[in-house]
Amino acid sequence: MFDGLGNRLDSVLTRIKGKSRLSPADVDEALVEIRAALLEADVALSVTNNFVERIRSVAVGVAASRSLTPGQQIVKAVDAELVRVLGGESLKISYASKPPTIFLLAGLQGAGKTTTAAKLALHFRRNGRSPLLVAADLQRPAAVEQLRTLGERASVPVFSQPTDPVSVAKAGIDEARRVGRDIVIIDTAGRLAIDESLMAEISSISNAVQPNYTFLVIDAMIGQDAVNTAKAFNETLSLDGVIMTKLDGDARGGAALSVKEVVGKPIAFGSTGEKLEDFDTFYPERMASRILGMGDVLTLIEQAERTLDEEVTKKGASRMMEGRFDLDDFLEQLRQVKKMGPLKGIMGMLPGVPKELKDVDIDDKEINRIEAIISSMTIDERRNPKLIDGSRRQRIASGSGVQSHQVTGLLKQFTEMQKVMKQMGIGPASATRRHKAKSNARKGRRNKR
């Protein structure tokens, strides 16, 4: 929705590419864009302003270096700095010498604490631990039932009693000792940082159970208020780390930076979906490029790895490198990419795609048509489109339910793309040996059909 920093800087800095160096005014302009990108990503204002000041000297350095791609250089520097801040010390959980190791979850209403508690429990159970969930949210209607259901799903027992949050938490620890659970995860009611009595309450829970780890659970969609919240919870509870939720949405998640800056403790986990398995270590690199709107390459890689057939992909790649990528390869790859979902979604995750392109409405039916046309060709035609004369074209057209000029159009497009590929520097490179092996493999496949 918003322009990524890469695009922003490029559009500000392209016009000066011809110049031998950036002027101080150019640097200022770049910094204005960096600030804008951070603010649109919901990085807190004060954090943004400090961050931009830190980047200033880098930008000045780039200006002096007569770089041909100052925009890219600055983006790289900003990205690196973000990763540095977001990363830092990672959290290594050390288990209490005298079990149980106690985890306390705190946060605003609706941040996702209850689900996170169950996810954390599953995470520990899968690491060979035996967690106990404690339902200390006695405030929200049916919060206990919710945790019970989730606990069942995670095969983790849930402790609760209808007393008060402090007593439940304490009794939960006793229960864990009694039945020999080595991890206790305490879910608490959501509360506003400015609600003094509820902040006092969670402080007493903390004092009563002396947790080994206190995590602030924070929603990736939160805006400028993130700093106030993080500050208040940290002052009350002295946090050990942060868990970010709802990372499967499209929020830029600038709060990660704000909270990190304020709390100074690691962002330990990220939550990426409603299923209990959707929980993972936090990756600063991903967060950095996400905040800068540079496309989420890593998520894309993961998604691709899950859906695409590695062999098929590798084959496509070597065909490309050999400069022999033909319509048959194209068809095969197209069928794969289709499995990843709508093209527009994939585009959205690709870095460096201009906004105009991302905003174009893409009808996936069109892709089906392309697929139909190519499928109507014989294998020899796909390999060598020159074979396609008037009558063959007619046959293909009627086979795929299009006009014959559409077939011509597609062939022309494909030739053009092959040219583009060459321009992009994708082509034969000392690959003759592999080529031979591949053509043997192709023969084998042809026989199978």
Binding site: N7, E40, Q139, L343, P354, E356, L357, M417, G425
Partner: protein, 389 residues
């Protein structure tokens, strides 16, 4: 093949090359994929020129920025409206009313500014920052401030107090003339559907709304349309008990649309006025779940009675993602209004202003706590005062 298909071919091709490149070198990781990225971006840029840089109203570029703004938005009638308004009314009075409502850090910061008098560059950028802190968003904040600045210049006012008042009026003008009450005038039962991302306060708001409507004489039935989240219908049931209204539930994991349909049928049978339907929280990026919501919406339209309101629940702490939420949910379910929850916290909820201004979806109610009575009709003046300090 038309040029449109040509486009798609190109896109497909780029995506393909990209994916292959990324995947094959996945082991090598980010480094190589970054190289690809810059290549791709330069090659695609040949086809599509980057948008012209946006000028900004900061620092020493003042003159330039001001003139650009005037070009983009030729001084609308606001300036004149405002100036005559200001002469008639006494700014200090409305100001002290506004001041009495200020609270927190932002309020204090602004009061400082109010006392300061002179209108330096710093003043205007602090004004912009105040709006940003309220989550209104950078672009809209800039726009509001530069319009205020233009109007300020034209009216020949000279104190910061007046400038801030101008800003308030500017914002109020953006919120003017909207239908903010629930329109429950269709053939009974009138269906009210609540939608939104996870955890914003949909279920709680339903409990409050049920109470709000019954205390005004309507008979209400709740539909437990969240059949997905653990204990969601138990949660709604507790609200139904508290508000003393009937609830129609489905089985856990069942079809949400049919629960809502059943509730509407039930309401028709017993002659209830309003059905308030819960839906599971969903992120707007999940195409499956948004598809499900579109289906719920279609079924609700065909259910007995009238689908009268589709309320998007927005959490006041939400940042700029709120706009994306509003766009997607409107697309899937034609939202008719916004309920802004959790305004009892320190967040200002400025994103709801952005949503109303950009998408024209009126804010109808405000949630101010976790209890049944903590729901009030939206009042633009209070809201704007809170944001401006």
């Amino acid at each position: 093949m038309g040029s449109y298909s040509g486009w798609i071919m190109h896109l497909l091709f780029l995506v393909l090359v990209y994916l292959i490149a990324v995947l094959v070198v996945a082991a090598g990781g980010v480094y190589i994929s970054r190289q690809r990225r810059s290549r791709l971006s330069t090659s695609s840029k040949k086809v599509m020129p980057a948008p012209p840089g946006t000028l900004t109203a900061r620092g020493g570029e003042d003159e330039k920025a001001a003139s650009v703004v005037t070009e983009q938005a030729p001084v609308d009638n606001l300036a004149s409206v405002v100036s005559s308004d200001v002469e008639e009314r006494e700014p200090p009075k409305s100001l002290s009313a506004g001041l009495s409502k200020t609270r927190g850090v932002i309020g204090a910061a602004l009061s400082r500014m109010k006392l300061r008098g002179g209108l330096s560059e710093e003043f205007w950028s602090e004004l912009e920052e105040t709006l940003i802190l309220g989550d209104i968003g950078l672009e809209i904040s800039r726009d509001l401030v530069s319009k205020t600045r233009d109007a300020f210049r034209q009216t020949g006012l000279n104190s910061s107090v007046e400038a801030i008042d101008l800003l308030r009026r500017q914002m109020l003008a953006d919120l003017e003339g909207k239908e903010r009450s629930l329109t429950l005038f269709g053939e009974a039962p009138n269906l009210v559907l609540l939608v939104g991302v996870n955890g914003v306060g949909k279920t709680t708001t339903i409990g409050k709304l049920a109470n709000y409507l019954t205390s005004r004489g309507s008979s209400v039935i709740l539909a437990a349309g969240d059949t997905f989240r653990a204990a969601a219908s138990e949660q709604l049931e507790q609200w139904a008990n508290a508000a003393n209204v009937e609830i129609v539930k489905g089985s856990s994991g069942g079809d949400p649309a049919s629960v809502i349909f059943d509730a509407a049928s039930r309401a028709k049978a017993i002659g209830a006025d309003v059905v308030i339907a819960d839906t599971a929280g969903r992120l707007q990026t999940s195409s499956n779940l948004m598809g499900e919501l579109a289906k719920i919406h279609r079924v609700a339209q065909k259910a007995p009675g009238t689908l009268s309101e589709v309320l998007l629940v927005v959490d006041a702490t939400t940042g700029q993602n709120g706009l994306s939420q509003a766009k997607s949910f409107s697309q899937a379910a034609q939202t008719t209004g916004v309920v802004l929850t959790k305004l009892d916290g320190s967040a200002k909820g400025g994103i709801a202003f952005a949503i109303e201004r950009e998408l024209g979806i009126p804010i109808k109610f405000v949630g101010t706590g976790e209890k049944m009575g903590d729901l009030v009709p939206f009042d633009p003046a209070t809201f704007v005062d809170e944001i401006c300090g």
